[in-house]
């Protein structure tokens, strides 16, 4: 097809022709086109169907405020719904489809909704689908979802990447129109770090769309020359295709740069979009203004658009929307459109002006009156005019430009606490209230509507914001016309006159909501959905407010406005994820034995971001239980080895180190001798257990504290709080050393025999008894730390070397243990052995547990002050029937004792009121040959041997169990002292 509506001129590159496809048809356009401008050049006005009534629609605007021309862009996995044809940059091979239709765009089967419009008014869904309630989810909602809506997702993984980044500047300028460019020149020439961001791919704003000159240049040429100068300044960063989506606290702005959206596919390795976090000292908002339409009957036909859009298509893109155009205006701007189009050879059917004193013209006819209605099924053909004297006239036209005045683009001024204020001259809201910190507004966004005022305002704003001395840069002469406007929102007597074209909200809907008692603007918004579409009502809110004000007999500012919120324009979710998706969603931590464990075929599990070996399957083992049982039995009968690097380690040094630990642990540490380790229980100030671990005293003034894997960071933070905020004059220094040391537990009756081959000193029971610790050397001289501690309950050691040697040490330990068939074990076997031994872990330390619950009440020293000691003594935490940790075993050895099940008395009612306690951890004990569990039971310490029922009504469990000591194996601890 030829570009039959293409005019001469414009800022497109005619030397470069792009082929593209819309709804299966081939078209051509030029570099510099948008999808909308290229389709209009080809005579295509119909680009979509509306949300609710499936009315035929074409573009209303030429910018990002577009409510109508939403399309599915690209194909396959790269398909993106709801992109605005008015901003989608044309490229060769672009593929687009219209959306929200059944059948073709021209013969949408759901256009029947339009005939049913009398029923589909505001609140229709609320009122109609209330009964029967069960029908909503199964019947009504699917039908409505199918019928109403926007584009569809590909449901495939997005093949492109998105990135994030961080920028710093002195001055962020949002919008590169006349005000933004003047501000950038002023600050850029002064040497400040400036970022100039504009959502458009071509900087210049309205200068690219207007015909008036700046000095002796066209506006577009001046913009291009200015951009060129700015680009040459090293301190100025120009960011085209970049939308500032949000203004956040203290000069932080979110920006989305569309790096590859204008390309067929992103270059290799390059992201599609980048989410920038911009830190700036000051900001100038120069986002311009958005023209508003006027409501009248059938004002939504393709071909009816904003007058400013007609100018943009004609002047910037060299496109006549139609060769015969009518204008409907309430201000001088409509006449500017007419003059520009006449100059391009377009026939003006008439300019319909609501003002009695409308300017006259020799080039076109001016009618005093208003547009009453329009005709044209798939696009405008006629406009019916009601003249001021009451007579009717029909205008033949394929396009109709609407000029209802301009709304300063206050969106970003509202993102903090800004609340716009009313300007009578413009009949529009201008920025007001508390603007985001450091922000000033310039140009049309501030209500300075002429080009000259924008240039001046931009330069001044930069000068004031940055406290610059000296003269402003010389700015070119430019038009300085005053605003001459008669507020006019809708044509009397209209009903099906669209305010919000994206959500299909009409004047009638607003009237109905008023009639039904909705008085607050926020209620109006939610009831009618006015302004709740993806365009946030940029072109529709004002009309709704004005009608509401009129019905309520109030002035518009008394009615107030709804609030614009981030993001400024719809933003792809992918860019918020950035590179953090899939396996990169969050970083993992690898243990020093990871490579070795992989070689052994370990199965890994993620624990507090660590990838830990869960078990080590061997050939012939078909279930995980087989592997775990083997690892447990081998450790208890000979020797096993396990990577325990993941436990948090905190280095505590200073002359007050012991006194400090006395504060953070509820049990005493002052008298712990050098060379000894002690178990420590850490409470929160409210008396609940925070964490447990060990503290090893390596010197008078040096301890190494361990934490549970998951709590390493919170415990460190807490200890720093105690140190800095509670006891600031203690001589104690803290630093995390979790990742500095590779640490292995070697456990089992043969563990000493293995380590004797590794450690360069006597580790006999006399020389190195239970709970000993020491700095040692291993393998003939490598510095190491040795601890005789045991989580498994066996004779055991933990040995630590600097991290870089961790891989070598695990291999050496396994080599030394070969004679004893040393068995690597994972977290599952570790868990089984700690349950057999009755040690509490994360399941028991669940944020509700006291020391008394754990049977460690006596550990809370009364001889000293420690965090949590006072509140742990509260009456409510010390009742006679408090929960106590117990062991639980099935009466029938074949029965399971699942975690989460609850304990009930042997007979009686089974319900929550009779609950006696619950299971926290459970496993199969290969040593005992049946399941075992740890749990909490009311008055548990006095119920040893009692028969109870373990129930889980949800999963159908009801098992007879016996309450036992939690220490299933070696209750007297003979093994670990061996």
């Amino acid at each position: 097809m030829t570009q039959k509506n293409r005019l001469a001129g414009g800022q497109i590159n005619r030397a470069k022709t792009h082929k593209f496809m819309f709804d299966g048809k081939h078209y051509t356009g030029h570099a510099g086109d948008t999808l909308a401008s290229a389709l209009l050049a080809n005579g295509v006005r119909l680009m979509g169907r509306s949300f609710k009534y499936h009315r035929p629609r074409g573009p209303l605007t030429a910018g990002s405020e577009e409510p109508n021309a939403l399309v599915e862009l690209r194909g396959g996995a790269r398909q993106e719904p709801n992109t605005r044809a008015t901003t989608a940059e044309l490229y060769d091979g672009l593929l687009a489809r219209s959306q929200n239709r059944i059948g073709s765009l021209r013969f949408d089967l759901l256009a029947v909704n339009d005939r049913l419009s009398n029923f589909l008014t505001a609140g229709f869904y609320y009122k109609t689908f209330m009964w029967p309630a069960a029908f909503w989810e199964k019947v009504y909602e699917p039908i409505i979802r199918h019928a109403a809506g926007l584009g569809s997702l590909s449901l495939k993984d997005d093949p492109d990447t998105y990135d994030k980044g961080f920028l710093h500047c002195d001055l962020l300028i949002i919008g590169a129109g006349p005000a933004g460019l003047a501000a950038a020149l002023t600050a850029g020439r002064a040497g400040l770090d400036v970022i100039l961001a504009d959502e458009d791919f071509r900087m210049g704003g309205r200068l690219n769309s207007e015909t008036h000159s700046l000095g002796d240049q066209s506006g577009a040429d001046w913009a291009a020359a200015t951009v060129e100068e700015l680009a040459s300044l090293p301190n100025v960063r120009l960011m085209a295709r970049t939308t500032i989506i949000g203004a956040f606290d203290h000069g932080i702005y979110g920006a989305v740069e569309r790096v590859s959206d204008h390309m067929h596919t992103p270059d290799a390795g390059k992201p599609r979009q980048i989410l920038w976090r911009i830190y700036t000292k000051r900001t100038i908002l120069a986002a311009g203004a958005i023209e508003r339409p006027v409501a009248f009957e059938n004002n939504d036909r393709p071909g009816i658009m904003l007058g400013s859009a007609l100018r943009t298509y004609a002047n910037r893109y060299g496109v006549a929307v139609d060769r015969r155009v009518a204008i409907f205006t309430n201000n001088d701007d409509g006449h500017r459109t007419a003059a520009d189009l006449v100059a391009k050879g377009v026939k003006i059917a008439a300019v319909v002006d609501v003002r009695e004193d409308a300017p006259r013209s020799l080039d076109y006819e001016v009618l005093h009156g208003e547009i009453k209605d329009t005709k044209g099924r798939l696009g405008l053909t006629f406009a019916e005019v009601r003249l001021a004297d009451g007579t009717m006239r029909t205008l033949e036209c394929g396009a109709l430009g609407l000029s209802g005045g301009w709304n300063p683009n206050v969106h970003l001024t509202c993102h903090q606490r800004g609340r716009p204020t009313w300007n009578e001259t413009l009949a529009a809201f201008v920025p007001g209230g508390m603007l985001p910190a450091g922000m000033t507004v310039a140009g049309a966004a501030n209500g300075d509507m002429s080009t000259a005022a924008a240039l001046r305002g931009g330069a001044k704003a930069a000068q004031n914001a940055m406290d610059l001395k000296g003269k402003l840069p010389s700015l070119p002469q430019a038009e300085d016309a005053p605003v001459n406007l008669k507020p006019f929102w809708y044509v009397e007597g209209c009903n099906r006159a669209w305010l919000d074209q994206q959500n299909d909200v009409t004047v009638k809907d607003v009237k109905l909501s008023h009639q039904e008692g909705y008085r607050s603007v926020e209620h109006l918004k939610r009831y009618t959905t006015l302004g709740m579409a993806t365009d946030q009502g940029k072109t529709s809110n004002m009309g709704g407010l004005a009608i509401m004000a009129e019905l309520a007999g109030k002035a518009i500012p008394e009615v107030g406005t709804t609030i614009f919120r981030p993001p400024y324009t719809p933003t792809a979710i992918g860019v918020f994820g950035g590179r953090h998706r899939g396996k990169d969603f969050h970083p993992t931590r690898l243990t020093p034995s990871h490579t070795w464990a992989e070689e052994q075929g370990a199965v890994f599990v993620e624990v507090g971001n660590w990838l830990r070996a869960q078990w080590f399957p061997r050939t012939g083992e078909t279930t995980w239980r087989e592997s775990v049982d083997r690892e447990v039995l081998a450790t208890r009968t000979s020797v096993g080895v396990c990577d325990v690097t993941t436990l948090g380690k905190i280095d505590v040094q200073g002359t007050d180190a012991a006194a400090f630990l006395n504060k953070v642990y509820c049990n005493g540490f002052a008298k712990l001798p050098v060379g000894r380790v002690r178990y420590g229980l850490m409470l929160r100030e409210d008396g609940i257990v925070m964490d447990d671990g060990t503290a090893a005293r390596l010197a008078e003034d040096h301890f190494v504290v361990t934490t549970t894997t998951a709590n390493a960071l919170p415990v460190y933070r807490h200890m720093e709080f105690v140190r800095q905020c509670l006891f600031p004059d203690m001589d104690v220094q803290l630093i995390s050393t979790t990742e500095a040391w590779a640490q292995y537990a070697v456990a089992g009756p043969n563990s000493r025999k293995v380590l004797e081959q590794i450690v360069d000193r006597d580790i006999s029971n006399d020389a190195f008894p239970f709970m000993a610790c020491a700095n040692v050397t291993v393998c003939g001289g490598l510095r190491a730390r040795l601890f005789r501690i045991s989580f498994s309950g066996e004779l055991a050691f933990e040995i630590a070397v600097p991290m870089a040697y961790g891989d070598a040490l695990i291999r050496r330990i396994v080599e030394a243990g070969a004679a004893f068939d040393i068995t690597p074990y994972g977290t599952e076997a570790l868990g089984v052995m700690r349950m057999e031994k009755g040690h509490a872990a994360g399941n028991e330390l669940n944020g509700t547990t006291t020391a008394a619950n754990l049977g460690m009440g006596r550990m809370v020293s009364t001889a000293k002050d420690s965090i949590g000691a006072i509140l742990s003594r509260r009456e409510g935490l010390n009742r006679a029937d408090d929960l106590r940790q117990v062991g639980i075993k099935p009466v029938n050895p074949r029965d399971p004792v699942p975690a989460g099940a609850h304990l009930m008395n042997e007979s009686g009612v089974i319900d929550a009121a009779h609950d006696q306690g619950y299971v926290t951890s459970a496993c199969y004990s290969p040593n005992l040959g049946h399941a075992i569990a740890l749990g909490f039971l009311k008055d548990g310490a006095n119920r040893m041997g009692e028969r109870m029922r373990l129930v889980s009504p949800l999963t159908g469990v009801n098992v007879d169990v016996e309450i036992t000591s939690p220490h299933f194996i070696d209750p007297d601890g003979e093994r670990l002292r061996a």
């Binding site: 932080i252 007050d656 006194a659 800095q724 905020c725 509670l726 004059d729 006072i870 509260r874």
Partner: protein
């Protein structure tokens, strides 16, 4: 938000962990006759002002200092930032 760290200058609040009311510095005397009541008040009774509030922030991804930040909970305006250790000392906290 930007927190103007007394040592490091302006830093993104994303680097910090928030804890709450800076009155947590004023831990009661455990040896007092009224310790039980004092610790109850300390642990559970807090103001929740719509306006200026002194609160504790930990520079976790930074220099590991606890800070006392005076912040307006309505506007997020920050009027003062101090090292919590200095505040604790000035309030007479010792060993």
């Amino acid at each position: 938000m930007i927190i103007n760290h007394p040592l490091l200058g302006p830093r993104d609040s994303a680097e910090f962990t928030y804890m709450g009311d800076a009155r947590l510095i004023d831990r009661p005397d455990a040896g007092s006759d009224t310790a039980a009541q004092d610790f109850y008040d300390y642990g559970y009774l807090r103001d929740n002002p719509a306006g200026w509030h002194e609160e504790l922030w930990f520079h976790e991804a930074g220099d590991r200092s606890w800070l006392v930040v005076t912040r307006n909970t309505l506007t997020h305006e920050i009027s003062d930032v101090k090292l919590a250790r200095d505040v604790a000392r000035s309030r007479g906290r010792k060993l």
